[in-house]
């Protein structure tokens, strides 16, 4: 797993965080996951400011973004990322409970790279997370400037 990329997860629900991390752990993908709990924190991380001031300035290989977030919501974060020259090359996967076509269309219009609805069934959920992790963190060639372990 030399080429495992760093995953930035933006998720406010600690249970979702735990379940996602558990799912990733099963496939040894959890080591390089950074968790932020709202949109503002996610942007702080991406811009290396606030409590992330001291982090290395590399981009994550992929961002797993929930849409319903406190403070700054997922679509706003997405818009910010995709309108920033430096950040817009990071692949963003929306991982949400929302089946809404409206949300999906809005996300794609903002330039999201994938849109995944969290399945209720845990097996399906684990499968989805695993495939996402494998694809974006291993198979996909991350854009230059992203962290590789």
């Amino acid at each position: 797993m030399d080429l495992l990329g760093r995953i930035l997860m933006v998720e406010d629900d600690p249970k979702d965080v735990e379940l996602t991390l558990t799912a990733l752990e099963e496939y040894n993908l959890a080591n390089e996951v950074v968790v932020t709990h709202d949109g503002e924190e996610a942007l702080d991380y991406l811009y290396s400011r606030g409590k992330f001031k001291t982090r290395s300035s590399d981009n994550p290989a992929v961002i797993l973004l929930d849409l319903k977030l406190p403070k700054v919501d997922g679509l706003e974060v997405l818009q910010q990322i995709k309108s920033d020259e430096k950040l817009k090359i990071i692949p963003v996967v929306v991982l949400t409970s929302s089946h809404e076509e409206k949300d999906m269309v809005a996300s794609y219009k903002l330039g999201v790279n994938a849109y995944v609805v969290k399945p209720v069934d845990f097996h399906e959920f684990v499968n989805a997370i695993r495939e996402l992790g494998v694809f974006w963190a291993i198979i996909n060639q991350a854009p230059p400037g992203s962290v590789r372990k």
Partner: protein, 506 residues
């Protein structure tokens, strides 16, 4: 006075007819008769000892002739008078001999008689002209008063006023509308009498009136009893021979009631618009609520399922069969609830989503849906009878939901039949719509519950018999209604069911 006028008019008319219409000999005859009567009277007065009466009598006869018979007979009368006078009244009597000394006397008589005749003729002519003018005037007055009384007959409000608003004519309609009698209104200023409120500056109104000769508009006025009235007013300008504006004819229609109704309708419309806005807002809120509930329900459900799964994995070796079953039940319930939420989301989305109407090939759609249901039909013995379906006009993704629901229902409710039969076809619709049916030989239903079939969360079977959320048919109905169509169902318990839906033809 009218009697005298009448007499004089009769005289003038007799005179006129005598001169114009009577034959010439009658007029000259009159001259002869007049002079002869003058002669008779002269001789009579002389006989009784009166002197010098003859000459004035002849003059009178000449004047009378001139008056009634005109200049020609008057000249004859003058000649006759001189003859008779000379013959009967001057020395020597009974001869036409004229002595030298009498010549001036006769000349003066002739001159005087001619003068009298001329005066009479002029006077008569003037009299005649005058009487003709008067006749014309009388006729005109009569016509005018007839017209005025005709105007009085109309229901419309009509009055005439000069350029300074002073009223000169006021019909009965005006009296009825405004409550002022003609004698009260005439001579008053209409704008003050009726407290008129003009819709535009008066200068502008007058400018238009002078330019095109007409003006139309709505005026607010006040009746005699103080009630307000709105009238549709039309003005027509009257000009004199020199093209100077002299009067304005105003016709008014009372539109107070119409205005009031329009006002009422507008009020109602506003109220309606407000209500529908409120309703729309409420609807939106409700949809947002449904969305939010469905959405937020999924998260804890996922967590429940997730942790139960993790727990099961962790302690699988320690659990007895019963505990295993409990775990399975928890997971199954979670899954069922997940489906329920998904269906609710679909259902609520139907109401919110914009329909995108296109031509939809139902044949193609059925094929796609059958492919989607392959997992459910796998291992089943189902005889499909699928007829060709016409194209329809609708929202493809919504109609797909309809077919998925109806076909998966058919598959589900025939699951206990060893030999399942499912038929898809089109029935006779009308010229604007097509009717599609899905028929199965499955569990069917009792027709007395048919009304419950399309309600949300209505189930006619126990959940352990056929699983389902009870939202599918409600969704079908909602979609078809949004297409302006109808849904209905027929069924017999244990013999199958047929579902019909109509959609617009393409």
């Amino acid at each position: 006075m009218p009697q005298r006028v009448e007499v004089r008019r009769t005289m003038a008319r007799a005179n006129f007819y005598l001169q114009k219409a009577r034959p010439v000999f009658l007029r000259y005859g009159l001259g002869v008769v007049c002079v002869t009567v003058g002669l008779g009277l002269g001789l009579l007065t002389q006989h009784y000892g009166f002197r010098d009466v003859a000459l004035p009598l002849f003059l009178f006869a000449v004047a009378l002739t001139a008056w009634f018979a005109g200049p020609g007979p008057a000249a004859l009368a003058v000649v006759l008078s001189i003859g008779f006078f000379d013959y009967f009244f001057t020395e020597p009597l009974y001869t036409f001999y004229v002595s030298r000394s009498e010549i001036p006397y006769l000349i003066v008589f002739v001159a005087f008689a001619s003068l009298v005749a001329w005066f009479s003729a002029v006077r008569r002519r003037v009299e005649r002209d005058l009487s003709q003018a008067r006749d014309r005037l009388q006729t005109e007055v009569k016509e005018r008063s007839e017209q005025a009384s005709l105007l009085d007959l109309t229901h419309d409000t009509i009055f005439v006023r000069d350029m300074d608003f002073v009223i000169s004519y006021w019909n009965r309609g005006a009296q009825e509308l405004y409550g002022w009698a003609a004698q009260e209104a005439i001579g008053k200023r209409s704008d003050r009498l009726l407290r008129t409120i003009f819709p535009a500056p008066l200068d502008d109104i007058h400018a238009e009136l002078l330019r095109v000769g007409r003006w139309e508009g709505e005026l607010k006025r006040t009746k005699a009893d103080g009630t307000a009235v709105v009238v549709a007013s039309r003005w027509a300008l009257r000009r004199d021979e020199q093209e100077r504006p002299v009067a304005i004819l105003e016709t008014n229609n009372d539109i107070t009631e119409r205005r009031r109704r329009e006002e009422e309708i507008r009020g109602l419309n506003e109220e309606l618009a407000k209500r529908s806005k409120e309703l729309e807002a409420t609807n939106k809120e409700l949809e947002a609520f449904a969305y939010s509930v469905s959405h937020d329900l999924r998260a804890p459900l996922r967590h429940m399922a997730g942790y139960a799964e993790l727990l099961q994995k962790k302690v699988a070796s320690l659990l007895d069969d019963k505990s295993h079953r409990y775990m399975t039940m928890i997971l199954e319930s979670a899954k069922r609830m997940g489906n329920l939420i998904d269906d609710l989301l679909t259902f609520s989305r139907i109401g919110r989503a914009e329909t995108q109407m296109t031509s939809v090939s139902l044949d193609q759609l059925v094929k796609e849906v059958l492919a989607e249901l392959r997992q459910e039909t796998h291992g089943r013995d189902i005889t499909w009878k699928i007829s060709a379906l016409p194209a329809c006009h609708g929202d493809r993704s919504m109609l797909r939901v309809v077919l998925v629901n109806l076909l998966s229902n058919a598959v589900k409710f025939t699951s206990r039949q060893p030999q399942a039969k499912i038929e898809i076809g089109s029935a006779d619709g009308n010229k604007d719509e097509i009717v599609v049916f899905v028929r199965d030989n499955g569990a069917g239903f009792d027709m007395k519950y048919v009304k419950k079939l399309f309600g949300v969360f209505q189930r006619l079977h126990q959940s352990d018999a056929f699983e389902g959320t009870g939202i599918g048919l409600a969704t079908v109905q909602r979609i078809i209604h949004r297409h302006g169509g109808e849904v209905r169902a027929e069924g017999v318990v244990d013999q199958g069911a047929t579902f019909y839906f109509s959609v617009p033809k393409f």
